[in-house]
């Protein structure tokens, strides 16, 4: 190839091209895994998807993990994580409860709960970015702190969900309300990540934090914003789940839901090291986990086995992520 100016042909081997196309369709391949799993469970158990009760059930497993994963994905792309998400989930509905007990209407209580969640995000962000504590440690601290706070405030006992039946139905009690929220929020987050400066800068600051700062991107503001986003989404899911089961439980959520959300993101192709990830991947990851969970429950595999399979799925997804990227680099241009 003749070259003029600063030209250098990018050398690509055929394996490089092949791997690249696989990588490009990584979400598709995970989606394929989900579809295969559904087909398998459907064959094993006729009631898996085709009855509306199990479909509803499945959607209610997927939605909370998916919505929290959207926030975690934004953080992970920027190289951060929020371990306190599940405790914000448990905390927020109590803020709403106390606001309503104090005489405020339920929607105002909801807003206050989201505001309080956002403030926890501010604390997570400020401690991480200004006091330079790794977010893993910061949010580990706020995780225990919030858990204790919620248990103290609630005296360890569940309370009723405030609000009119219509309000509750809209915010989670209607069977498909949660999955609708997940899809709407997912679409908005996808646009935020892919089509706005905020999203682009998040990717840039995860891939090259120092370089991003040198181009004038305010990395701190960006990351604190993502901590707030993650916290507000977690709090919102706590309220959705409270409305769904008609009870605000101080023991709800917790690190189980947080780890499910992180796992959804990772299975969906988000790198914990920062710099890459997709929102749709988080939704698909949550779907895979939901299908595994429901499927194994229906064919009678217990929760212990489920954890073994979940663990294996996360490891395989991670190994796949890291090595596919590395291999495609080796096979492709230098």
């Amino acid at each position: 190839m003749a070259t003029t100016g600063v030209t250098q042909p990018v050398r690509r081997s055929s394996t490089g091209v092949l791997l690249e196309s696989v990588l490009k369709w990584r979400e598709i391949s995970i989606l394929l895994v989900a579809v295969l799993l559904i087909a398998y469970f459907e064959a094993e158990n006729r009631d898996f998807l085709l009855t509306s009760a199990s479909l509803e059930n499945l959607s209610q497993f997927i939605a909370p993990a998916a919505i929290i994963s959207f926030g975690e994905i934004m953080l992970m792309i920027g190289g951060e994580i929020d371990l306190s998400a599940g405790m914000i989930f448990a905390f927020a509905p109590f803020v709403m409860h106390f606001a309503v007990v104090a005489g405020m209407p339920a929607p105002v209580g909801l807003l206050l709960a989201l505001l309080a969640s956002g403030l926890i995000g501010v604390v997570n962000g400020v401690v991480t970015l200004f006091l330079r504590v790794p977010s893993f440690v910061t949010t580990l601290g706020t995780m225990f702190l919030l858990n204790g706070l919620t248990l103290t405030l609630s005296a360890g006992t569940p309370v009723d969900v405030p609000g009119s039946p219509g309000f509750q139905a809209f915010f989670g009690h209607w069977g498909y309300s949660e999955i609708c929220w997940a899809i709407v929020i997912g679409l908005m987050m996808h646009v935020l990540l892919r089509n706005t400066r905020w999203g682009l800068h998040t990717v840039a600051s995860g891939g090259n934090p120092h370089g991003a700062a040198e181009t004038g991107i305010n990395v701190r503001r960006l990351k604190i914003g993502n901590f707030i986003l993650s916290a507000v989404l977690s709090g919102f899911v706590g309220i959705l789940e409270g409305c769904r089961i008609s009870s605000v439980d101080p023991q709800a959520g917790g690190s189980q839901i947080m780890f499910l959300a992180v796992a959804s993101g990772v299975i969906g192709g988000t790198s914990l090291a920062g710099g890459s990830g997709t929102i749709i991947g988080g939704l698909i990851g949550a779907t895979v986990l939901g299908v595994l969970n429901d499927g194994f429950t229906l064919i009678g595999i217990n929760a212990f086995t489920f954890n073994i399979i979940l663990g294996a799925a996360i490891l395989i997804a991670m190994v796949f992520n890291i090595h596919m990227t590395r291999l495609s680099r080796l096979g492709g241009a230098r």
Binding site: T4, V6, G207, N208, H210, A212, R329
Partner: protein
Amino acid sequence: MTADVTQVNSEIIRAENIVMKFGALTALRGVSLDLKRGEILGILGDNGAGKSTLMKIITGFQAPTEGQLFIDGQAVQLRSVDHARSLGIECVYQDLALANGLSIFHNMFLNREIVYPGPFRLLNNRAMRRRTQELLDEIGVHVPSVDLPVERLSGGQRQAIAVARAVNSNARVLLLDEPLAAMGAREAGLIIDLILRLKAKGSLSIIMIMHNYAQTLEIADRIMLMQRGAVTYENHAAATSVPELMEIVRREYRSMRNPASA
């Protein structure tokens, strides 16, 4: 300041007695510098001499501990990289500041993206893609596709992208931190070509930090030698030579080792 109007007018950047301390370490101990319109100033010096630090002060990335910066003869206190950019100062850092996973065109417009009008300010990828292609064609940099992530480019191509990004946006002053670092003779030649072509278009003043004396004398109009946080020599490129510069550096080292006999 009526004494020498032409002098003041032709001077685009002047730094006076810049001191920079990082805790106990003094990276710059009173450095002064001036840059005239359309001029290429080459800064040479050892590792750790404070070259990058000086440059980051001129780009508004960090504020000096002491000293004053003048732009177009006006005293300014740079508040941020964006502030310096609004005054026409652009730079290519030693680490290039490219986001590896992002495409060439997203890197080209990083932090000054083109967005659609409207409340959501969505990214106008199409316009950025087209503008990037035009810009690269204009300055003679060729890449297979502006959609490629920059991690797939060679060192020379990455450097060229970083330079192109800096000149895109009506930069009047371009700061280059070791633009030829870790580059083979051929790739270095291409970047030198690019720099000379930019200079030939006029209107652009360039400060470049270099390690190779011969290359610097070839491109620069004027050179400045920095050692241990201070400027130790300054001259027109035509008035000095590689042996002379080597001798100055050697003498400086000797005086550093036994100050009494200097």
